[in-house]
């Protein structure tokens, strides 16, 4: 059960900001989110969307532990 967080426009696209999702890797998490919501699945693939695991930016695939926090971050706009 990863804890998934969406920010900015991604949360608007999905209609939620935070959700528990069963997944053991970022790749399988992406597949599950896309299966539930194809529009969100596409939005997560857009260039500039970054992924943070437990508040540290990561690239590519990575395994998820049972309590990992996975955040999908659209391009940062500044404050």
């Amino acid at each position: 059960m990863a804890r998934v967080l969406l920010f900015g426009a991604l949360a608007d696209v999905a209609g939620w900001r935070e959700r528990e999702v069963e997944a053991t890797a970022i790749s399988s998490l992406r597949a599950r989110l896309a299966a539930d919501d194809a529009t969100l699945g596409q939005a997560l693939q857009r260039p500039g969307v970054q992924v943070a695991l437990d508040k540290a930016l990561t690239r590519g695939d990575a395994p998820l532990g049972p309590t990992t926090e996975v955040a999908f971050l659209p391009p940062m706009s500044g404050g």
Binding site: A9, K55, P74, M76, S77, G78, G79
Partner: protein
């Protein structure tokens, strides 16, 4: 050195006084207060999304770089998130240095970073609807001004204040 996120309205005067108190070797304190503009009625709410924990940590890295680069004695960054109304402060930055050039340049540099690269996502709402905002070309140019200077430049010697 510290970075804070707040959902309640910021109080710049109180923050400036607390930041200024008890400094006997500081000659210069610069503060920047960024306010939400009403755009003559075109904007009525700014919503800033932040990732608490991640956002402060990312900002703190740039703050630490700025402290070393400009030989700052101290700095404070307080950023609002959530819904913000016109006329309300969005961000407060203060820098303290022995001499004024360093305090000005550090505050200017921190603001360029905060306005263009810091981990926030912002949505502006008004009578014409709501939209998520990307940094402007000017914001990216402003931030890039600092990239061409070597990181280990020494601050120029200068008189008090």
């Amino acid at each position: 050195m510290s970075v804070h996120l707040e959902t309640a309205p910021l109080r710049p005067g109180e923050m400036l006084d607390r930041f200024t108190a008890g400094r006997s070797e500081t000659g210069a304190i610069v503060s920047f207060t960024g306010l939400m503009r009403a755009e003559h009625g075109a904007a009525d709410t700014l919503y800033l999304d932040a990732y608490p924990g991640f956002t402060e940590a990312e900002i703190a890295r740039t703050e630490a770089e700025a402290q070393a680069r400009f030989a700052l004695q101290d700095s404070l960054i307080v950023h609002r998130h959530g819904a913000i109304a016109p006329g309300e402060p969005i961000v407060f930055v203060a820098t303290a240095a022995a001499h004024r050039r360093a305090a000005f340049e550090a505050a200017d540099h921190l603001m360029d970073y905060l306005k263009s690269r810091a981990p926030f996502w912002k949505r502006s709402s008004g009578p014409a609807g709501a939209s998520w905002i990307e940094p402007t070309a000017q914001d990216l140019d402003d931030a890039a001004r600092w990239d061409v200077v070597p990181w280990d430049v020494a601050p120029a010697a200068e008189d008090a204040g």
